[in-house]
Subunit: 255 residues, 2 copies
């Protein structure tokens, strides 16, 4: 039986990056797309709890169903898995995101929220991002990497509780140097808000900021991306820092 | 000089659990509260990117300023640190949440999103949650634990990049058995949506679900909480699964 691949993103069902992902995925199996109606960037792992969700069927052809949902990327993964997929998906894909999700951007990313949710549900998952924010970004050079990783993960599976965060430099195909398996680089967003004054003289704050990552090690995703490599970071949904459990035993003694 | 403590939550600035936290924190230093205007549960690490933020000053007394912000808990931490705190906070507290944030609930929690953001900014942080969802929950039994942990963390600091996820059983003070340093229990949310039909005959889906955690080990937070202990889980903002980097090296070889 053909594998079933569920696809979502955080740029919305109509995004160019998603279209390329569903075309490539259809080489491997049947595809269900459920993606947000519009832009859900920065939605991280958020859920919609204060109102119910609505779903629109956008397209239904041989091997491909596309739905738009008015929830978050995580809502899409949960709802599609439970109600819209004809069987449990063999693989969840998210993206291809218009813009980087390297380093600590995983924290904020709706693309990666969907991937981590799939892993929490016990389904193998891969998030793809191209380092180009433009709605018209050219995703052509991503195809061989996307195809390779989908094929390998379908064939061999991922270790339990591990998903992949894949970032692709914005370079022509002949300048991409291959894949490196990495860890997240340590980084920070600085000056994250800009204060402005409205026409009534009242202040408001816009999110902005500069990504700061100084001298990332060769083992990190930022180094790989800066040197023309596709970065693949294995991530997992358990935030426990295990070595610190022993280190913090003293905290449990109350006077 | 007195320490500066920044407080937020995901239940909104008017929540009862936050009031208890700011009263206890004021025993240790000056307090700035910046919390969402209303309920922001399930907001995880999400950021507000599509519109600017507004802030209302709610209260200003000796040693305490309270602001309400129309953004997420993560927005509150970023914006307060950058624009509303008179100096860089020595400690960020989040909560006390009305309801559990144990196990994989960290993924979805706005309370813990704020804590992880503080850690990403390099500030020690603790998230507190009581296992009682009621807006009128009785937080009295939490006080000695909250006081102990704030005091110890201000005194000794936390290891780099580590924050604490503290959950407190909903029990009378004399039935709480102390603190255990734990890891997250593995768990899942099952049957996460309920389908209903509106008066026009169209379907909609409400988020719901059952928390399923079977036979958690004695080292986990779910075991601790079920046995009357306050659970303290050290968490960190780097989602990389380091052992898997070696394990997945084979993925980088493309045919």
């Amino acid at each position: 039986m053909k594998p079933l691949i569920l696809i979502t993103n955080d740029d919305g069902f109509a995004a160019k990056g998603l279209r390329l992902l569903d075309e490539t995925a259809m080489e491997f199996g049947d595809v269900v797309v459920m993606a947000p109606e519009g832009n859900a960037s920065g939605k991280s792992h958020s859920l919609t709890t204060s109102r119910p969700l609505r779903v629109r069927e956008i397209k239904r052809t041989e091997g491909l169903c596309v739905y738009a949902c008015d929830g978050t990327p995580v809502d899409c993964v949960k709802l599609a898995t439970e109600y819209f997929c004809p069987k449990r998906p063999d693989l969840v894909l998210s993206g291809i995101n218009h813009g980087s999700n390297s380093s600590i951007n995983v924290l904020y990313s709706g693309t990666m929220g969907a991937v981590i949710e799939a892993t929490a549900l016990g389904i193998d998952a891969i998030g793809f991002s191209l380092l180009n924010h433009s709605p018209n970004a050219d995703f052509t050079a991503c195809v061989p990497y996307v195809r390779h990783l989908i094929g390998r993960v379908l064939e061999q599976g991922l270790p339990a509780e591990i998903s992949l965060n894949v970032n692709i430099p914005n370079l022509p195909a002949d300048q991409l140097r291959g894949i490196r398996i990495c860890h997240e680089a340590k980084a920070q967003w600085l000056d994250s808000f800009e204060q402005r004054i409205d026409p009534q003289g009242r202040p408001y704050w816009w999110l902005t900021g500069k990504f700061a990552c100084s001298d990332p090690p060769e083992t990190s995703d930022e180094w790989a991306l800066a040197h023309g490599y596709v970065s693949v970071v294995p991530i997992h949904p358990d935030f426990t820092h295990y070595p610190a459990i022993e280190q913090l035993q003293g905290l449990s003694a109350m006077q």
